[in-house]
Symmetry: C2
């Protein structure tokens, strides 16, 4: 069972996991066709001679798949997952067709808001790992998280 | 006519524009259903009582639409738009149904690589503006850009 988390439940060092998803060449091309129509995301032959040396998912596809796993994963703030801004977003290696990814989300900081007592910020690093345990994305996000209401 | 850009063509202060795109409620929900299935991105009624006070696009949808405009815009590095990492990514206000967005991309820094003489990094700030000229996304990306080949 998953319980909604309030800011008061979060503490640095907590680690949350996720389910996993396998990305297909078809899904990589479909996303690229809609949002990032560059040859190395669309066409195996042209990708082979590109920077990536083979078909690779758009980084924004990796980010979108990460969000999906996050929303469905163990880290469930009561008010939803709302990013105020990112401190870091990078793609250390490409996401390839056939890769299976999962998340590790670690709480880095928890900061109640002075001006808005009903909420605060949590800084969370979410690492997206492929089936070899290698990072394909590192995201450090500042999330708006509500505080536990009095009596809850 | 758009000419492919090499690192050697870039200089701080240059500003590049883009075309525009209008986002519909249907597109917001379709993206959310695939990648960010949270009530405030999926359902007008539940969005009305949420943090966003109405239907809002997933930030990752805003990012993906921005990438599409970037790929089709005036800023066209010869090797493609390849992000090594982001220094900043934030969503100052929500992207709403009916909003029309366009980009302003400003070159902030240009840095040839010491270890790889054929390429370098360009730091580019891309601001995604709605029809009122308000920023819905600010992205500062470090892009891998190839240098002009000898004789080209």
């Amino acid at each position: 069972m998953t319980t909604d988390l309030y800011l008061d439940d979060l503490a640095p060092g907590q680690v949350y996991g996720s389910g996993e998803v396998t990305v297909t060449a078809e899904a990589i091309k479909r996303f690229a066709d809609a949002f990032d129509p560059q040859p190395f995301h669309l066409d195996e032959a042209r990708a082979a001679t590109s920077f990536f040396g083979g078909l690779a998912a758009s980084g924004w596809h990796t980010a979108a798949l990460t969000m999906r796993l996050l929303v469905e994963g163990a880290f469930r703030p009561a008010g939803g997952i709302i990013g105020a801004g990112m401190d870091e977003l990078r793609w250390p290696r490409p996401l390839r067709p056939g890769d299976t990814i999962r998340l590790e989300s670690e709480v880095l900081e928890v900061r109640p808001s002075r001006s808005r007592p009903a909420q605060g910020l949590a800084k969370v690093r979410t690492t997206t790992l492929n089936q070899h345990g290698e990072a394909v994305q590192v995201l450090v996000a500042n999330l708006v998280v509500v505080r536990r209401p009095a009596g809850a």
